[in-house]
Symmetry: C2
Subunit: 583 residues, 2 copies
């Protein structure tokens, strides 16, 4: 097992050439984001990631977490690593200076977040969730609540959680039954939540739970959900901690991966009811939650990139050491695997960073187009980048041969850890539905059309770059097939409500694979004139060639399944599904 | 978690219509294999699988195995289940009556083997390996060795193992260093072997190790390897057990999956040297090992089908129970996942059974064409069916949503267990090399051409079947692209030795996906006139339509990557592979 080395060159290249950081730095809000500053931040973060968090990744997997009484002790080293993280101000990069943030672009915080997730995904979930809590409070909470909770969440003194899921209500938020009753300036919360990531731990003195619950007189369904802040310890007016709130972890899940990340069953109000404070307005909790969910979805897509990077580094190291009739790195099929890993990871990184940049541009300039672009790309980043993480971490196991199946090697941990990514923050089926429904059919394909126009420009640029004739042809083929699939979706989706849902997943994979190619095309064109490490720039060109030749043809298959339509997906009845055995 | 139900209807259908059992039963050797007999055997086997082995699957995963002194106690219930297996004569179906076998077709033993693997893959590896040992001895051993070992291996009184891999020599058998020294009528074996499946256990009184080792005067490389029988306990002339041999398990691996299957490090000759008996001729061990390896490869492909079936049953059951704005079974994307699982599993089953049938025809009639067909299909069955098992078991997790990531649900175990399949018995990279090299380039595409001719016939039959116009067109498209890829392989492979290795994996996936479509085409045509359960036959038709519309288009992508060639796979140098980070 080797420790993680942040791919600083690729991160900076993607920030500059895919995520348009130079343009962003021209905006008055972000003029501090100079190249030198970005370098300094990323290099400093890479030390914490590589030297502190990365060595704890295996320990965390092997030790896991257990509930002891009301407490969840974290694996050795985790709390200290968290302390270093907080002291370094790493949780505050992109937040408002008013509450102690550093006011940097969100997209600059993204490679830093990627590092934590590469180094130690189980640990990294804690700051990831805290960041979501900050976003939800910053946008929706009253000034008083903000003043009371944001500084400590942003500084990392406390951590935050998201409490959505209940037993029997997974992705279906309409089924939420947790209760909130009014009581003076606060509410009493009762009920149980499951799958609460980092719901209990010993790394900080307090934990701030954001909890969805329903008022007694709330309308049914998602329009009757409210969002509450429920702290583990009550917070006094002077900011000091008061009594223990009636909110407790009652058990932890035994999971396939991310063993060091406590996945809690949380019980609110087993005694008097947990005291909670309303965030935003009553019955408007879903909208509040969405502000954090959208960013969290991008962050989960980024986790897919992050764990892919880690799996690649591990596999490359092994392939360079392992002798089998010569070092296996030189075997053609091992090279195919490594290049697939590298190409998917870099394409995913470029796409995720660029999507995050759209949010910065939208926030800074109020651009509706950038906002729609971010909204369209979000399910693609979450869905496609987490699917590619399955492929890349599996290839990581495969490169190791028999050793890949042995837990001590470490490749299997990445494979197990990665498997949560297509599931949480909205399953990839839900992402695909979001993409075909709210993000495509709802605006009659407008945002998709704008994206295709951007891709047309990238294609033109590639065509005008000497030596990329084949690549341009391959990208053009994929782009055409995606446009056809998009037209078909708009046509059939207008006629039949079931059709889009049936083809949604393959449509998402089509758009993701294509968007990866688009980002690689942009990168290759930029690499021809960019200054910097020659080896890296040559590798970027060759990785793009590989992507276009060996990955992008998947678009033809995805597009064909979309064009073949929903009919054969929906034809079989329940009885036929189970007809191969005697019942 | 639900217990396994053998898909008897599909198994019998695949035997009859894909594996040509009626024609086989017309041969004098196999006239006993009547429909009634086949039904009776499969039904009886399904009881042991569903009622005894299946409930032990989770127990085995959770308990795992540990080395205690020299012994490896198996999880509760395992030894008793094995006793029932041996007493039922389940290990003897396809073997020679001379040594206690039942003389049935190999292809009839295949669905029975599938059941053990579906029910409990970790347990099922034990009889699978024993079967391989029987095959190696039956073909290669002296009459004396056969008489001494075959009856007990066939009856199941003893189990067998394959000892190939050594530390530092994975797939590269030329690097084997285990020593064998002549000593009278036997040999003394010394050395260490790793990854020995069921190398030690308490289910039987004796274990028969087949061990590759090198004589002092042996030529270098694979031409200097000999095969030896090394029993755990010496066998006296009267068949009773004598002294403990100097062959011991010294540790067990801690693995991602198949926790109940002991993966042993075996040490031979720590004291005086383990006593071994030569199988076949000196220095001809590799050929002996290949007789068992080829069948074992088919069996591992079958494990892919088996675990896919199990994952499908689990997912279908959950999807039918789980409510989320209606039962999730009715959600279009869940249906897509379930149908993908079902279609891949049934296509894989039909292909695996048919490949095994070729071995029966070849053995019974001496047909060289059937032999070449089996040889061509073997790496496809091993490679493609184990890759599809990754997809199917992952979809099985995904259908469960968040519950899929929780170990208690059971879906994650199938996912973990399945991950070994693309690795052992020759990694899928090695299968792909075998397919493009020894099985295609070596005979200048003759066997591949014969297969394409069979597929042309199946296409004609589909075209002549009313209502399958679209499916015929889709199959024709895939078939054409595979023929083009095959021609390209023959052309480029003749010019450049590195080219075939670089495109091998995608070529294998192309051939597998196409061959699955071919088998489904045959099945659909047969289903139109077959007698039997109407619901099942309708489902077969609809599954075929789904396969052709939603799975088969992958051939276009695989073919395109082959046509795009090796260039972009081999262009990058070692330094460039690691150029994204500072070293």
């Amino acid at each position: 097992m080797i420790d993680y080395k942040a791919p600083l060159k690729d991160m900076q290249f993607a920030l500059r050439h895919n995520a348009r950081l130079p343009q962003l730095a021209e905006l008055p809000q972000f003029e501090e984001a100079s190249d030198d500053m970005v370098s300094a931040i990323l290099e400093e973060a890479s030390k914490l990631a590589g030297e502190v968090l990365s060595p704890l990744n295996v320990v965390g997997d092997q030790t896991g977490v257990k509930l002891e009484g009301d407490d969840v002790p974290t694996p050795a080293g985790f709390a200290d690593a968290y302390k270093q993280f907080a002291e370094g101000g790493w949780g505050s990069l992109q937040f408002e200076p008013e509450f102690g943030g550093q006011g940097l672009p969100y997209s600059l915080s993204i490679p830093v977040m990627e590092m934590w997730q590469s180094a130690n995904m189980a640990w990294g979930l804690c700051p990831l969730l805290s960041q979501g809590a900050v976003e939800a409070l910053a946008v929706n909470a009253s000034d008083e609540l903000k003043a009371q909770y944001l500084p400590q969440l942003i500084s990392g003194e406390w951590t935050g959680t998201m409490n959505l899921t209940e037993p029997g209500a997974g992705s279906d938020l309409a089924a939420i039954r947790c209760k909130a009753e009014r009581e003076g300036d606060h509410y009493r919360i009762t009920g149980q939540k499951i799958f609460i990531t980092w719901g209990e731990h010993d790394m900080t003195d307090n934990i701030v739970h954001l909890v969805l619950a329903r008022l007694p007189d709330a309308p049914e369904g998602v329009k009757g959900i409210s969002l509450f802040v429920v702290p583990k310890f009550m917070v006094n007016a002077d900011g000091s901690l008061g009594e223990r709130n009636d909110a407790r972890c009652v058990s932890l899940e035994h999971k396939l991966g991310i063993h060091a990340s406590p996945t809690a069953v949380m019980s609110f109000g087993d005694n008097d009811g947990a005291i909670g404070y309303l965030v935003g307005e009553e019955n408007k909790g879903l909208a509040c939650m969405f502000t954090m969910m959208n960013n969290a979805r991008l962050a989960v897509g980024l986790q897919g990139v992050a764990i892919s990077e880690r799996a690649y580094q591990q596999a490359l190291d092994y392939a360079g050491e392992r002798e089998q009739a010569g070092v296996i790195l030189r075997h053609a099929d091992v090279r195919r695997m490594l290049l697939t890993m590298k190409a998917l990871t870099e394409a995913g990184r470029a796409l995720a960073y660029d999507a995050c940049a759209s949010l910065d541009f939208a926030h800074a300039t109020g651009s509706k187009a950038e906002n729609a672009r971010a909204a369209l790309l979000t399910p693609i980043v979450k869905g496609w980048c987490t699917e590619l993480a399955q492929e890349v971490t599996s290839l990581g196991v495969q490169v190791h041969g028999g050793m890949g199946f042995i837990e001590e090697t470490g490749a299997a941990q990445h494979y197990r850890d990665a498997r949560i990514l297509p599931i949480y923050e909205g399953t990839n089926g839900i992402q695909a539905l979001d993409l075909v429904g709210r993000k495509t059919l709802f605006d009659k394909g407008e945002a998709a059309q704008a994206l295709f126009t951007e891709m047309d420009s990238a294609l033109n640029a590639l065509q005008s770059t000497s030596g990329f004739e084949k690549e341009a042809e391959r990208f053009a083929t994929a782009l055409t097939s995606a446009k056809e699939a998009n037209a078909k979706l708009l046509e059939e989706g207008a006629k039949d409500r079931k059709w889009p849902g049936a083809i949604a997943f393959n449509y998402m994979m089509l758009m993701g694979t294509l968007a990866g190619g688009w980002q690689m095309a942009r990168a290759a064109v930029a690499a021809q004139t960019a200054e910097g490490d020659e080896t890296f720039l040559q590798a970027k060109t060759l990785t793009t060639r590989f992507y276009m030749a060996q990955i992008l043809p998947r678009c033809q298959a995805y597009a064909a399944t979309v064009m073949n339509g929903a009919e054969d997906i929906l034809a079989m009845n329940d009885e036929q599904l189970a007809s191969a055995w005697y019942s």
